[in-house]
């Protein structure tokens, strides 16, 4: 095999490998989650950065319901009206739950760049966010 062919083969192999290594988590959105909207946690920036502060997701619309998990900074929230002061939400793996409405506020793009947030089913099989 000539040196030129070896070099060309190496470049092709390296080009094919780059997307695998560098962009393996480059998620895409499959389709919007109908009936849901993006909402933001009603916390300060300092609270959002604090690993010890968690907003609970519970499995029923009352404070004594068992814990399902914690909320991310942006929440996949049902557009349905709250029940007993709780909004129905989805955890990022699609598990349903409820969050007290006092922890939620309308989503606003923090960068003011005009993008909208659309809750979506993602290419990794989980739920997530499409920004357009």
């Amino acid at each position: 095999m000539s040196l030129k062919r070896i070099i060309v083969s190496t470049i092709i192999a390296a080009t094919c490998a780059i997307p695998l290594a560098a962009h393996a988590q480059n998620l895409t959105a499959l389709h919007p989650l109908i009936g849901y909207e993006c909402m933001a946690l009603n916390l300060s920036q300092q609270q959002l950065m604090d690993p010890s502060i968690h907003v609970p997701i519970v499995n029923g619309p009352n404070a004594s319901a068992p814990l399902v998990g914690y909320a991310s900074a942006t929440v996949i929230a049902s557009v349905s009206p709250p029940t007993n002061g709780f909004r129905r939400v989805l955890r990022l793996d699609g598990v349903p739950g409820w969050i007290e409405t006092k922890y939620l506020k309308p989503w606003v793009n923090p960068g003011g760049n005009g993008q909208r947030c659309i809750p979506s089913a993602m290419s990794n099989g989980r739920d997530g966010f499409n920004f357009q």
Partner: protein, 269 residues
């Protein structure tokens, strides 16, 4: 939490060079997949379509292949454990405390490569210690994070107490700090899972470290073309030297350029 941006940018320039080495890195894996073989008879014969006149027909029995494996183990690497190989792991193994860090991470169920990726990003595993910001050691942990991580690790495996340097002096002992960093990775993994990020990767954990748990989990769940400023307040990005137009994919690539094939490995394992 320290974002060593000059280091990160410098590594970007060597991205192409690192990927150009991938075929060579993959070659040993292919070699291990090969199995030697011997024949107990003659190889497969070609039967002539038109026999030559006057030549008697001779039939040669076809041999069967006996395969023999060239080895039963994972290889003959120089590492002290069965940890999966990675670029970052090699860097940590080169440190005097590297072997102990790997053994302790494995005792906690933490992927040693994930631990190695942390020290590579934070300080080059000790090469760039001394930020002056209060963070210390190869893992650049702040006192609060150090204590939390250490408590988590010791709760999971109390026998590690014999490995640590007690008190604040432990922050200056790389073996102790590696245990604390392993505990902190366990916390990150658990929190991300509680948010619905199943089987968090090293990249997911980096999002957790750099942007906090709530923003980190959102970054791990958003399309790659999203500018970080659509998720994280621009003031925070500016304070950490990140352009508001930098996308999630670009940020992930810059991390992957520092830690190579470790980026998409899981935190635990």
């Amino acid at each position: 939490m320290i974002t060593n941006l000059p280091l990160r940018r410098a590594w970007r320039t060597s991205l192409i060079a690192r990927y150009a080495m991938l075929p060579m890195l993959l070659a040993p894996g292919l070699a291990f997949a090969q199995v030697s073989a011997t024949l107990d008879g003659a190889p497969v014969q070609v039967t002539p379509f038109v026999p030559e006149l006057g030549v008697p027909t001779i039939e040669i029995p076809q041999g069967t292949v006996n395969t023999t494996s060239t080895g039963s183990g994972p290889g003959t690497g120089s590492g002290s454990s069965g940890a999966s190989g990675s670029d970052a792991l090699d860097t940590m193994l080169a440190q005097s405390w590297g072997n102990a860090a790997i053994a302790n991470a494995e005792a906690l169920g933490v992927n040693p490569s994930a631990l190695a990726a942390t020290c590579v990003i934070e300080s080059g595993c000790g090469a760039n210690v001394g930020s002056g910001s209060g963070a210390q050691g190869p893992f650049q942990m702040y006192p609060a994070a150090f204590q939390e991580g250490l408590q988590t690790a010791l709760a999971a495996d109390p026998s590690l107490a014999s490995e640590i340097v007690q008190g604040s002096a432990g922050m200056n002992d790389p073996t102790t700090e590696a245990i604390a960093a392993s505990g902190y990775l366990m916390q990150a993994n658990q929190t991300l899972q509680n948010m619905g990020v199943s089987n968090p990767t090293v990249l997911d954990a980096r999002s957790y470290y750099e942007f906090g748990p709530t923003y980190g989990s959102e970054i791990a769940s958003s399309i790659g073309t999203t500018p970080l400023s659509s998720i994280v307040p621009p003031s925070y990005l500016a304070n950490n030297g990140i352009s508001p137009t930098e996308t999630i994919s670009q940020w992930q690539s810059s991390v992957a350029a520092q830690i190579g094939n470790t980026a998409n490995q899981t935190v635990l394992g």
